[in-house]
């Protein structure tokens, strides 16, 4: 299964220095005349939508290529038509679409046709292509082309995330069949052979700047406001904040640690926005580690941690406590946690389990937020008599620490702070904790048959109410195992000049080409 969010995860795994918390890759910018200067949290690596390495790539691809539908900006998750003039689900396994006429490819590749749609979707779904997003099209059978502009997407089985993440996401982007077939291997990395979106790349100076200019052939209707968008890859959030303050950028995401200060200080000509993020952060316990094998011990530890203080230390009051791995606003969000902070009970339960003087190691990514959170957890656990050693790890090590294929560190892993990013469908949150994922991404080595079944059915259930119940149940199972303590979904914050009108998805992800000028 497939997560959408993998992208973010991937990014996490990949872009070491930057990873921390608020990393949604919001762009930063400065708009002078009709140029927008924004920050990207990393440089582009691969703009091919079938091979985007991270959100940093996707945010650019998004302005260059069209999908049948796109995600709405604003505060509610949802989709709207983009390249499609009409699109409808005729039955659980058939989606009929009709493209707008006159959409053109650059570089003389003609018009955007239903053949292009077929080529693009089937390409991602083809195992030989080895696209990491193959699971977005897990149940795609084929795309039937009726005529130049219309066709039907045929699924083998119903697929719930189709409308929430597949079609409006990366796997739903349309590339030019004619242009791709001319390429060796039918792949490209940073030079896109043909674009259909509102922008095209004018110049890329690696690690320094990527310049987008209006695509003169774009006929998609809504035109972009800015003549030019300059994207600056700046890994460090603090550096981006300073760049914004010294007016080198007009829009940037900011770290949550700076949010309060910005709010208190008040920036004269700038606006701050905050968005609830989708990502989820948790405290995990490796249930196969000899020291944590007893569920009683794991439950006691769950109760010993004061989550609110942990969050306060790590996020400076900018993030609220999570009740699970599915954020508010999504199907399957859970109303409350089952257990609460209770150090006295924890102490007694540890005593009853004969685990006095327990010594454990907490592993986490070496970033300021995690270091702060870990130190609070260490203090909390010291209070109930558990001695915790902290193990801050660089991203290269951290992201393989629980992976069985990458060595033996998964055996020694005891406690960890985890964070996955997420796309707006609950299946992308639960996908990582199935039995198949044990030792792959499920580092707590949690495995429940009931959970796996619910996850499978959740993918096929198209009724949101029934679907929601399944996901709530799954989170209950996770929490009851004792191996998980849900911390937060984080938040994202951005700052921009008052002259800019940003276009952001509900989680704060920027949609560059829809940025405009403030009225």
């Amino acid at each position: 299964m497939k997560t959408l969010n993998l992208k973010r995860r991937h990014f996490l795994a990949g872009s070491a220095a930057t990873i921390g918390l608020g990393m949604v890759g919001l762009p930063t910018a400065w708009a002078e005349g009709k140029t927008l200067k924004i920050r990207n949290y990393a440089d582009i690596q691969n703009l091919d939508p079938a091979f985007n390495t991270a959100q940093a790539d996707a945010v650019i691809t998004d302005s260059l290529l069209l999908g049948l539908v796109r995600m709405k900006t604003g505060t509610e998750w949802g989709w709207e038509k983009e390249a499609a003039e009409e699109i409808e689900q005729v039955d659980p396994t058939h989606v009929r679409f009709k493209l707008k006429s006159g959409l053109k490819w650059s570089n003389g590749y003609g018009t955007l046709t239903a053949e292009d749609v077929k080529y693009s979707f089937e390409r991602v779904a083809n195992p030989k292509v080895q696209s990491p997003y193959i699971d977005d099209w897990a149940t795609l059978d084929h795309v039937e082309v009726h005529d130049e502009l219309s066709g039907t997407i045929v699924l083998k089985e119903p697929f719930a995330p189709l409308w929430t993440t597949t079609l409006p996401g990366w796997a739903g982007k349309i590339v030019s069949k004619a242009a791709m077939e001319k390429l060796p291997d039918q792949k490209f990395t940073t030079t896109m052979p043909a674009v259909s979106g509102p922008y095209m790349i004018k110049e890329w100076v690696p690690k320094q700047r990527l310049t987008l200019v209006r695509n003169p052939d774009y006929t998609g209707g809504e035109t972009a406001y800015y003549d030019q968008i300059e994207v600056y890859p700046i890994e460090d959030e603090k550096a981006a904040e300073i760049a914004f303050e010294s007016r080198d950028l007009d829009f940037t995401d900011i770290s949550l640690s700076s949010l309060k200060t910005y709010k208190d200080k008040g920036m004269q000509d700038a606006t701050i926005t905050e968005h609830p993020a989708l990502s989820y952060v948790w405290f995990g316990q490796n249930q196969e580690n000899p020291a944590l094998k007893d569920p009683k011990i794991r439950e006691a530890i769950q109760k010993a941690i004061d989550v609110n203080t942990v969050l306060d230390a790590a996020y400076f009051g900018a993030a609220t406590r999570a009740t699970g791995i599915i954020a508010p606003g999504l199907v399957g969000h859970r109303e409350a946690n089952l257990t609460n902070f209770d150090p006295d009970a924890a102490r007694e339960e540890l005593k009853a389990a004969g685990a006095e003087g327990l010594k454990l190691k907490l592993s986490f990514l070496n970033k300021a937020e995690w270091v702060a959170a870990a130190q609070v957890i260490q203090a909390n656990l010291a209070d109930v008599g558990v001695d915790v050693t902290l193990e801050p790890l660089d991203s290269g090590t951290f992201w393989t620490i629980g992976d069985e294929k990458s060595g033996n560190s998964w055996k020694d892993l005891q406690l960890l702070l985890g964070r996955f990013s997420m796309n707006p469908d609950p299946a992308w949150a639960t996908a990582w904790f199935t039995c198949k994922q044990v030792g792959v991404w499920d580092w707590e080595r949690f495995c429940s048959k009931e959970y796996d079944q619910l996850h499978e059915s959740g993918l096929r259930e198209l009724d949101p109410a029934k679907r929601g119940e399944m996901y709530v149940k799954m989170q209950d199972i996770m929490e009851k195992s004792g191996s998980y303590l849900f911390l937060t979904h984080e938040a994202t914050a951005a700052i921009y000049r008052n002259s800019v009108a940003p276009a952001l998805k509900p989680d704060g992800t920027a949609v560059l080409w829809r940025f405009g000028a403030a009225a």
Binding site: K2, A16, P206, I242, S246, D394, G396, K405, W432
Partner: protein, 314 residues
């Protein structure tokens, strides 16, 4: 002289080879599977295996090492695991930025530090010498990352006189110069102190030597003695120091690069290690090691060429 030069050169090459081998072994043993990181969580085992083969990771280390060196001889440093760009291009993009930073940083430090040292030596133990001395030592005592942070906050954030981040508009020379000021200031700061102390010490030694005392006895003006004779000799150790400093700065510039977000060798190499992007890491580190050894080599040869005593001794 030529024989000496040849020997030193051979030694320098051996140093490079040895260091790179060590680096290679390090990359081999440190945890973190590069294919897991490069391909991300959605990669299937088959995809990872394919990349592993492409990167040559399945082979025993001596074979990997052999392939690395044999392609190195052909000028091929491999390709970036993620973007498939040749590593040599990445080196070409980042190395000049760091070299320019190091040259500018040391340049301003030398321009101020050397005259300051001369002045101190001439005014030995007078009040101004002592003040310069204390200031120099205070400068030496300030870690460059601290200088960088404070410079950034004062000049870029608070006063807003200079740009905070980046290396400047590609192609715009003036802008690049402006972006160079703060990082160069930060990395050169401590070197002003080092150089002034070193020049002072060497000068004092030289000023005491017989032939200088002779000149003084002949009634040559003090400034002429200082500049014409003493400085000429005192500059030798300074050259050695500068050679090493320059080479060393290529890696220690990493702090300034991180704080000012300059896309240089240090910053890129650090990111490459964290993502286990081994070809990039090897390429960048190899280039700094190479330049470091070449700098010390050139400095040594220069000193040998300039100093008749050393030349004769060879």
């Amino acid at each position: 002289m030529w024989l000496y030069a040849l020997q030193r050169f051979g030694m320098a090459l051996l140093v490079c080879v040895l260091s790179v081998t060590v680096l290679f072994c390090i990359a081999y043993v440190i945890p973190g599977d590069p294919t897991a990181i490069a391909l991300g969580p959605r990669a299937t085992p088959e995809m990872r295996e394919a990349l592993r083969i492409r990167m040559g990771l399945g082979q025993p280390i001596y074979m990997q090492l052999y392939h690395f060196f044999s392609s190195l001889l052909r000028g091929d440093l491999g390709v970036d695991v993620w973007s498939n760009r040749p590593v040599i291009d990445i080196v070409k993009e980042t190395l000049p930025k760091t070299m320019i930073l190091a040259v500018t940083g040391l340049g301003w430090a030398a321009l101020i530090g050397i005259p300051l040292g001369c002045y101190s030596a001439v005014r030995r133990n007078k009040l101004d010498d002592r003040i310069i001395g204390i200031f120099s030592i205070a400068m030496i005592s300030t870690p460059s990352f601290l200088t960088a942070i404070y410079a950034l906050l004062v000049f870029a954030v608070t006063l807003n006189w200079l740009p905070a981040i980046g290396a400047g508009e590609p192609g715009n020379f003036g802008d690049q110069v402006v972006h160079l000021i703060l990082p160069a200031f930060a990395i050169g700061f401590a070197w002003v102190g080092y150089l002034s102390r070193l020049v002072r010490a060497t000068m004092l030694e030289v000023l005491n030597e017989t032939h200088i005392r002779f000149s003084r006895a002949f009634g040559l003006p003090e400034w002429k003695i200082t500049l014409k004779y003493a400085l000429k000799i005192a500059v030798l150790p300074t050259i050695t120091l500068l050679g090493m400093a320059y080479g060393g700065l290529l890696s220690s510039a990493v702090f300034a690069e991180i704080i000012f977000n300059r896309p240089g060798v240090g910053q890129s190499a650090l990111a490459a290690v964290n993502t286990r992007n081994y070809p990039v890491m090897m390429g960048l580190t190899l280039s700094t090691i190479f330049i470091f050894t070449m700098c010390t080599l050139i400095a040594d040869l220069l000193v040998a060429a300039l100093d008749p005593k050393i030349r004769k001794g060879l």
